[in-house]
Subunit: 226 residues, 2 copies
Amino acid sequence: MRNRPIPEATVARLPIYLRSLLELAEGRGEMTVSSEDLARMAGVNAAKVRKDLSYLGSYGTRGVGYDVEYLLYQITRELGLTQDWPAAIIGIGNLGRALASYKGFTERGFRIKALFDVDDAVMGDEVAGLKIQHLDELKTVVNDEEITIGMITTPPAAAQEVADRLVDAGVRSILNFAPGVVNVPPDVNIRKVDLSIELQILAFYQQRTQAIAAAREANRRLGGPR
Amino acid sequence: MRNRPIPEATVARLPIYLRSLLELAEGRGEMTVSSEDLARMAGVNAAKVRKDLSYLGSYGTRGVGYDVEYLLYQITRELGLTQDWPAAIIGIGNLGRALASYKGFTERGFRIKALFDVDDAVMGDEVAGLKIQHLDELKTVVNDEEITIGMITTPPAAAQEVADRLVDAGVRSILNFAPGVVNVPPDVNIRKVDLSIELQILAFYQQRTQAIAAAREANRRLGGPR
């Protein structure tokens, strides 16, 4: 059992550190990383990096930094990524198909084991090496394949029913890509992926860039300092 | 010009508040919201909500909370979502197709105006009402359609070249869905969407749930307190 529970905000940053460390290890072959460099890559400040990593019992070495490989191991273990997570995707439209063959999942231990839909036109079609099955088979397949994670990629109107069926089948972790609110019992973890969040952050900075350019242009026309 | 620059971390939370407020306004027809309720929905603490919103000049009313509609307006304006953002998608595989018809984008002012690929087999195909064009047309179309945002949904190996072409065409905001590192000049904003981040956070909690269940089971077998 853990001595000090890891705060939710820290948990949310661990995958970001993991991605940065993988870039360092695979891309540049770096052996160590300072909290400042890791902070820059992850878009937070260095004090937060040190605090976050202290929850894993990782403190780095003064003047040297953190050992990249060991930190990778610690975060991977902490996130539970040293084990395989069998997952199912429900709703095999374009997004479901994209996720079924998304390399970022398998690299991190998420194995897509089953695909479900209700549309007779796609039933039995093969996507990423898996046959699309009818949603009515969900409970049996979840049991047989020991599926622990369900990903909902249906149209919004179907999301709640699919969530109910996943819960009924015994799935306790749900990732919802469908817009809108989905309710689950308190013992079920549900997280939402909103594909427009990063786009909104981008719009903020684009707007600022345009405002600065417009101010410069106005200043130029008025003959002010350049 | 703004008096107090908004910190990056606050900018990143504004879309989360926006989503929560939309749920309140559309789903439940709520007129006001307390910082505690908004904090719970957004998964942060109430002090952080109050601090974040203070950057927008929003302080709420003691005992009443924040006016939902007005806060919606303030955040929408701050994020630059009161204007339309013409965007292009490059790489029209499953993910590109999913994004081309993703409702969450248009709802927030992001208009997909053009689709590009290099595969002759899909050239001229229509997706979400748009014809797929060859990447060689990028510069002309960006200019004609005044495209400000480029979304990269190509395989990883093509991402850097597509980013270079977007920059060359004058695009200064890029959203990259392809795994791997893409480099752009300092005056270009690039953000990355990693579809596995939320899944990793989910795995952390699932792992914890399983550990607790295993501990309870062991305790039960040993005849300890229930």
